[in-house]
Amino acid sequence: MKKYLQSIIDIRKGEVAVTLLLFANIYLLLLTYYLLKPASRSLFLAKVGPDQLPFVFIVIAFVIVPVTTLYSRASRGLRLNHLITVTMTIIVICLFALRWLMTLPHFWVPYVYYTFASIYGVLSTSQFWLLANAVLNAAQAKRLFALLGLGAIFGAWTGGEVTSIIVKTFNIATEDLVYFSAGIIVLSMAATWAVWSMRKAEIEEPAPAQARKAVKRETIGDMFGSIKRSRHLLLIVGIMTMTMMVAALVEWQFQTVSTFHFTDLANGEVDKSALTSFLGKFYGRLSLVSILLQIVFAYRFLRVLGVGGVILFLPLGLLLGSTALIFNVSLLTAVLLRGADGSLKYSIDKTGRELLYLPVPLELKKKTKVFIDMFIDRWARGATGVLLILLMAAFGYDSDPMEAVRRMGFVVLVFLAVWIVFALKMRREYVNTFRKAVEKREIDLSEVRVRLNESATIATLVNSLKSENDREIEYALGLLAGLQNPNLVEPLKPLLNHRSADIRRKAIHVLMAQADKTLVPEVEKLMDDDNVEVRRDAMYFMSKLADSDRKQMLKEFLAHPEPKYRCAAVSSIAVYGSPDERRMIDENSLESLVNLPGEEGVIARRQVAGALGYLGDAGFNKYIRRVLDEPDPGVVSNTIWSIGRLRVRELVPWLLNALADSRYRPDARAALASYGSSVLGTLLDYLMDDRTASAIRRNIPRVMSQIPVQESVDGLTASISKVDPYLKYYVVKALNRLRNEHPDLKIDAVKVDDALIYETKSYYRSVQLIRAHGTEPSDGSRLLLRALQEKQDQNLERIFRILGLTYPPSDIHSAYLGIVSTKRTQRASAVEFLDNLLKSNIKRYLFPILDESSAERVVRKGEELFGIRVTTREEALEGIIKGRDAWLKVCAIYCCKGGMTERLRAAIESAVGDGDPVVRETAELVLKS
């Protein structure tokens, strides 16, 4: 029973008081409304008559305009709690004024009362939902709105019942019910204040002073403008309009059929007592059905289908009812149709509709919600009244009312179709609005990038060439590379003497594109530059633009007595030369350079090491091995680059070992990646091999992510479940990168889901371990808890990284940032967003973790889903010591330093033979102590 109640009423620790106060508040407001509503209607019908009802509808529609305008203006300058207090105080004053007016014999008094009650109903409930939206975050709202909806239905129901009891039992005049109402409203104000003071720390509302600055005279146009700018609000308006219009049409259909059913066809008279009794029973049972739907289904449907699914219930129910009515116009089908409308509209649909406002910022909500609720509601009803008059005439109501009802059914179907389209669009927009809210914390860099047109770009870049900042010049040169423009020559010339070798080199390249031979003397001076790469590029420039025979010139430099020219020539030919020119380099040229002594020799070997990759002659591979033994990191780096370019198969193990050396790691990764899919088998072998050094294994996934082929994805996906959590992080990260950069590659969703479920299992286990371990005051215990918490955080990150493999990565990344945020509202928005994004089989495992559940709840869920059960500290420690995570083992063993049971001693003794030296060392330390 407890479990069942928990499944429909999910109030968590710290929420009880707020929920009860909100429940009491909406209950009281609806109770008041249902005291005032029948009183105002009976007074109107008794003193004015039912034929005047259309006019009072028109009066309401017109009075709504200034009321909503004033309300919206007030909402900009006041905090929500003050706004509610001011509004409700005015209402209480109005109630006393009304009571006094009722003593006067004026004909317009019933109109005023009717209009007031009508506006009160919509204003007070709208304000309440605004309050509930403000004080509850998205996740809480989703759990608790259904319960609050129940409070509203109960309030309405008891209000109706209480009216007659009060009037009959206490012999009180209908007019005096306003005193009761005023008293109840004061109680509801107290509840509002209490709720506000409890939650004010968590309400994100701009300070009133700040908001007041923005106050200006709000007009209906301004409010429409605010709504128009938000697609989300526009869709809410669309849905509200359709809801109200269809409700008015359905009500008309129902009343017409009911009246016809209780009419004596012989004399055309309506059996009023039978009709009243029928309507009484119908509306009474409708309330009960609403309560039942709200209690049993509202929260469950919300949990399973989300807001987007719930808002489809009412239009789909009406679609069925309306279709039935079209096929068979009878009291039964009319009851079904109106029953669907009445029962769903104030239960499941109402809860869903109020939740639609969740992703709307509070300020915008304050400004527009009451306007939408009041204005759209009443004007939609008014418009439907006009439409009804026209359609009744067009469908021949006077001659055959039942046929008119049937035809009206088709109009209802059209409205329903529009409604369903709006609801479907809303479903998508709701997720989008949440997505935007969740993403808001990020800066979109693409927005801050400058876009320049061609001429402006060149002028700006030329200007940048004069900059004092070397990076700015290099950036400009990079963008100008390859561009032919004679105006570039003069600004580039001074850069040939720039202090930075990179800038001198890049300037040569940009000048080369200008093919200006007058530059040859300037560049020729750079053949003696201190920097070998500048000399190499200057030689390239000379060989291309000088008048002399290019090949001959290069040959002369290759045989030059000065090693620096020989070195530049080898490098220049290797990097920029044609295959024919590369054949000019022979063993003698290389031998003379690699054997050079001293610093000059190191520089020469660096050039040779890099040149080997271009030369591609298998005969030169011996030089690769020779320079690999060089102590200079520059030589080794260039050699690694050449190995990758030449894809020397037998050097793959050497490259894999180089992954463990931070000096060569990036080069080794790039070199391995350049082997392409042919190296994937070897990489996977090393990845799976426990004997391979951790520093090598953790770099392999990154190498594989640089080989964007399906085999990489498949290999990495298959390895997720086979590697330890530490390596898994790198595997998933590599898959994330492949997914981001190559969305065309397919990832096996089943394997990913399995991996995700496995990760959630680890999370549940760590929650149980933390809980079972408890809080012991020792240093070792504190360290273990810290380590477990850190592992749990890493676990959560892996979960989201895995989610990013099958869901849009940017959405998942934003949601992750929301989940780890310290702000509860951001976290709740992220949970709500994920609730709408993820498949239900994943949510089943993931949501108990994310949904701010208590530790007990997560522990229970872990037992239920995976059968994990760790109850004692001893069990927790033993489990960790026997587990796979070396660091947790170390911490758990150290935790036993103060004393241990025989069972733990046995576990620690077995850890003395562990493969990890720190585990062994700690086990020995603890056993000695």
Binding site: S662, A695, D779, G780, L783, R786, A787, E790, W887, V890, C891, Y894, V918, E921, T922, L925
Partner: protein, 148 residues
């Protein structure tokens, strides 16, 4: 000699490592060397090259210029932390006040470790940004507060 886990117990108290995950602290522990100084021995002097961070295990160390004592580092307190990030010479002298046992993290080893463990770099940056932010907030508050 201290084991890795025992060194971790000390290292987790060093402010600059406060954001470093405990598992990564074990790597720092592996490069932390235990050294001892007798009472009155100078650990480093003003203008010495900054080459290591120290953490007091037992004993105490006085940080001072010629005349003035700047501070006294006691058990579990670190000194010379900036040496890990900055090559500027020492600005104070460190002298053992009593027989003192220290953990010493060499700058070169530390830099090599950072190259291999990016999480340590991230955590140290996070802790530094947090300190900087606090400083900025304090300056902001000082500026905002009215003159007495």
């Amino acid at each position: 000699m201290l084991t890795v886990i025992e060194k971790v117990m000390f290292l987790q108290n060093v402010e600059v490592f406060s954001e470093v995950p405990s598992e990564q602290l074990a790597f720092l522990a592996a490069i932390a060397e235990e050294v001892t100084y007798a009472k009155g021995n100078v650990i480093y002097q003003v203008n010495d090259p900054s080459d290591a961070l120290y953490l007091v295990l037992d004993g105490s160390v006085k940080l001072h210029t010629d005349e003035t004592e700047i501070t006294l580092a006691g058990s579990r307190e670190a000194f010379g932390a900036w040496a890990l990030f900055d090559e500027e010479p020492r600005v104070v002298t460190a002298t053992a006040v009593e027989d003192t046992r220290l953990l010493r993290i060499d700058r070169e080893d530390f830099v090599d470790l950072l190259a291999d463990h990016v999480q340590i770099t991230q955590a140290i940056l996070k802790s530094m940004v947090s300190r900087l932010r606090n400083l900025v907030d304090r300056v902001g508050l000082d500026r905002a507060s009215p003159n007495p």
